[in-house]
């Protein structure tokens, strides 16, 4: 595989100019995650409204192009979606990065799938998978209000 399939333009662009890299005002959910091997860290903030819809989602942190792009694309894509929908999409994304060839969730539109599949190149780089999944695991932890900090070394 060519290294350029991992570092596609869209990833470099999101890595360089991450969307939603800020702290949500009046957030009501949050979680921290870190990747001790790389030193990547992320703090995800969520504002869920009364109908459990994501009114705003943002993140703070630092890390490599893959982890920043992944968090940027994630926050961009999930804003406005409902909690249950979000959980399904996160599972689908993690499943795809881990083993599934494609994204399967019906909650994802075609262009959204295309966008997420840009991160699929990381599957060929086992040491970098954690960079792509850190913010997603952290998001779930925020939704579930888990107090524990996400640590990529403790994940499967």
């Amino acid at each position: 595989m060519n290294i350029k399939e991992l570092y596609q333009e869209i990833i470099l662009e999101h890595g360089k100019n991450p969307r939603n890299l800020r702290k949500t005002d009046n957030f009501n959910k949050e979680a921290k995650g870190n990747n001790p091997l790389c030193g990547d860290n992320v703090h995800v903030y969520l504002k869920l409204n009364g109908e459990k819809k994501i009114e705003d989602i943002s993140f703070e942190g630092s890390g490599c192009a893959i982890s920043m792009a992944s968090a940027s694309i994630m926050t961009d894509l999930l804003k406005g979606k409902e909690e249950l929908e979000v959980k399904e999409i996160v599972n689908d994304f993690l499943g795809m990065i881990k083993e599934n060839p494609e994204l399967e969730s019906k909650k994802l539109k075609k262009d959204e799938k295309t966008k997420l599949m840009c991160l699929s190149g990381v599957k060929q780089y086992p040491m970098r998978v954690k960079c792509a999944t850190l913010s997603w695991h952290t998001l779930i932890s925020a939704i579930d209000n888990t107090q524990e900090e996400i640590n990529t070394e403790k994940l499967d």
Binding site: G39, A65, M127
Partner: protein
């Protein structure tokens, strides 16, 4: 043995990485192994294997002799006064833990201070942290200066009447700074302070003379010295090994065991409980022979030439920033590229067969001080050439191109 053709001694370089020649620049992490060391492990298991120090049969006696031969070789190599000052451990980490544990147990009490530096690897910090938790000792850090060195003045500044031990690296695994151990030891001893040196990076790249350095303890990692993994060496002055309590209990370290009393074995057995890394110890003799054949002076000259060349070409490369500029520098080139995270650098370089390390290199204190979370590190071994450094530079350029820099 000529250093120019030394790559031939290392079979790993016959392999391709992503269809490219391997450019191995991660020796500070672990060095590659020469054929003679690999063969020795194989031969010992194939023809000579037995446990050591216990049985009286032919193989056991022969293996014990080989095991002790390595101890003598190490003693000569590092110019220790006595063969029994050499203790085999599972690594330098265990060597430092051994001292922290036994020295801490016997000599440290609440309020006592251990002085380390901001350059230290986690393995020369965390063991002392355990004592901070269990005994309430304090840990002080001698400051690193803007060149990535720790000067003797900065050490002296942090010495107090409560300082009991100075734990210090010989050669920084991030900035490459070589610390003046002899002078530091002299200063420490004049104030009655004990000195432990983390020699993980010092041992593969510097000439070692324990009697000249005069430090109390020196920890060595064998796998960074072209030797097998799972093996380290603790050098300790004999008086310490006699005075300190044993570290681990078990077979091999005892003299007599009764229901109500136990007496411990003589040196060095007192500190080598259980079955040791026998094959690794025996093969390590070949690593020492390998280093002796090339000659430490030749190694130092070769590596110095490379370090200077590496610094020169990387300094010319825009957006590459070298970490540290110590006057005495060995074997390590750490850097950052503005706009590219070190992990992205390492992945892209790997595609070209260039193996470097990215991260905090087990030196989070130093990286915090530098205000970065990670750095990229190219580290050298005897087998590296200017060509390797040119390849590093051209892969860095490729990396910059991918990131549109």
């Amino acid at each position: 043995m000529s250093i120019d053709n030394i790559k031939k001694e290392f079979p790993i370089f016959n392999n391709k990485v992503h269809n490219n020649d391997l450019v191995y620049l991660d020796s500070a992490n672990s060095s590659q192994k020469p054929q003679s060391v690999i063969d020795r492990v194989n031969d010992f298991y194939s023809k000579e294997f037995s446990n050591v120090g216990r049985s009286v049969h032919y193989l056991a006696v022969a293996a014990t002799n080989l095991y002790e031969t390595t101890r003598s070789s190490v003693q000569k190599y590092i110019n220790a006064k006595d063969k029994n000052e050499i203790v085999f451990t599972k690594g330098a980490t265990e060597a430092i833990n051994l001292i922290a544990n036994t020295f801490g147990q016997k000599y440290l009490k609440e309020g006592d201070e251990i002085l380390i530096t901001e350059l230290e690897h986690h393995s020369n910090y965390v063991p002392w942290h355990f004592l901070r938790k269990s005994k309430g000792i304090k840990i002080e850090f001698a400051e690193v200066n803007s060149d990535g060195e720790v000067t003797i003045e900065n050490i002296e500044k942090k010495i107090t009447s409560k300082t009991k031990l100075i734990g210090i690296t010989h050669l920084s695994n991030v900035t490459g700074a070589i610390l003046p151990i002899k002078e530091i030891t002299e200063l420490a001893h004049s104030k009655g302070i004990t000195v432990l040196v983390d020699g993980c990076q010092g041992a593969p790249h510097l000439k070692l003379d324990m009697q000249d350095l005069d430090c109390d303890f020196y920890a060595i990692s064998c796998h960074k010295m072209y030797g097998p993994t799972g093996l380290g060496i603790l050098y300790a002055k004999k008086k310490w090994l006699e005075e300190l309590p044993p570290y681990q209990g078990g077979g091999g370290m005892i003299k007599e065991v009764k229901k109500d009393s136990i007496s411990y074995g003589d040196l060095p057995n007192k500190y080598e409980a259980g079955t040791m890394a026998t094959a690794q110890v025996i093969a390590f003799d070949k690593s020492i022979k390998f280093l002796e054949k090339i000659g430490m002076e030749n190694i130092i000259n070769h590596e110095q030439e490379l370090i200077e060349y590496g610094q020169e070409i990387l300094r010319k490369n825009n957006s590459v920033k070298l970490i540290g500029n110590p006057k005495n520098k060995g074997a390590v080139l750490s850097f950052t590229i503005e706009g590219v995270h070190p992990h992205d650098i390492a992945t892209i370089l790997d595609e070209d067969g260039v193996a470097i390390r990215a991260g905090h290199h087990c030196c989070q204190i130093l990286h915090d001080k530098l205000g970065i979370t990670a750095s990229a590190r190219a580290s050298l071994g005897v087998y590296n050439t200017k060509n390797d450094l040119d390849q590093l530079n051209s892969s860095i350029n490729n990396c910059k191109k991918i990131f549109n820099l």
